[in-house]
Amino acid sequence: MSGTPILLADSVTKRFGANQVLTRVSLPVTERDVVCIVGPSGSGKTTLLRCFALLEAPSEGRIVMQGVPIATANPDRQVKSAARAVRSDIGMVFQHFNLWPHMSVLENLIEAPMLVKKMPKDEAIAIAEGLLKKVDLSDKRDAYPARLSGGQQQRVAIARALAMSPKVLLFDEATSALDPELRREVLLVMRQLAQEGMTMLVVTHEMGFARHVGTRTVFMDRGEIVEEAPGASFFDAPKTERAKRFLQQFEDE
């Protein structure tokens, strides 16, 4: 853990109209970090992740990548071009997969590398096939998303994000839309990525994953970071009353 963080939320405030959803949130993410963000519903976890993904612009504060601002409240030309330059270095996996239904699995994977990176088709296919093997879906190469189970779709979505070789991968409740018996296959892929050193920012309700795979746990409530602790210590010794109350609902898991 040294040097400038690869990705940083710098005192980010986000309002939707009069509704203030994030209040001066600062969160550095260093290389190989697996930051797990937990907290009650409506606490602003998704919004924070969407700010990192450049899907929402902060109302105040900045998103900074490797020292360069890529999102501000009033982005100037420099910030905008910096954002374009690092756009595909930040990947995101959505709760509802968001695979493109009119394309086969392989087409989903090669679309962005070919359009954005101008990669030749055979090279994109070679990379895609490698990634499908990694998420154990080689046999689904030519299937359409509607033919796959939720767990398979989410693994394709992860492979699609990896196809752009991002430096950071954001996960927004990647397993919440899945039946319990399908969650494991997705969590295993995520754990494998973490072990390979992928820098990850993971919003999750899977406390087991946060405890055993996360390097850091961030607890959010009402738009603020309330507590932050390395690895399992957040679960073993929560410091705040709010965190204790939050953790109680998982006790029988």
Binding site: H96, N98, W100, H102, E111, A112, L115
Partner: protein
Amino acid sequence: MFKYQFRWDTVWGSFDFLMGGLEMTLIISAITLVLAMIGGLIIALLDMSRFRVLRWIGVSIGEIVRNTPILVQLLWVYYVLPIVFGIRIEALVALIIGLALYQAAFISEVYRSGIQGVPKGHREAAQVLGLTPIQSFRRIVLPQAIRMTLPPLASNFVQLIKFSSLGAVISVSEITRRGMELSATNFRPLETFTFIAVVYFFICWPLAMGIRFWERRLQAR
């Protein structure tokens, strides 16, 4: 009524004449559909434009056309446009313009709901992966939108086949007009118009059934 002597031979005797009218009907409907698809695209683009004036024009055309009777619009195109522009418009051209404008207003809505029917998440996934808005529209939104708009466009074709009978009022020689002419000479409106209704039905009904089947298949995907 029960003493009525059917004389279907008066219809069979003019079969070719009526079928020539049917051919006209189908040609008018096909040409009009193509024009209406283009017109609908223009109105939809105006509706979604960044510029307020263009949006206002698009919305106005749509609202006016959708909220006045199609027959009045046809009469307007046929009788008023020539006065305003000082040109003569052939009845056939007036019919095609009038019908195309009318259908374009509805087709623009079809396009719009097709585009808006593509979930926002699909575009966001493209955005995060680095696709530009134009790339995302062309590769992600449009192919899905087109698939959703095909059945409604086919339904519009069925509607056009029926609406084109209004051409009879401005003496366009499609099948309904020819029926009117025939019954004026053979004095057999019952046989003539029954035959014509049956012809319309057996063209429109299978098409409508096919479209319903097609839509259900698309929804199942």
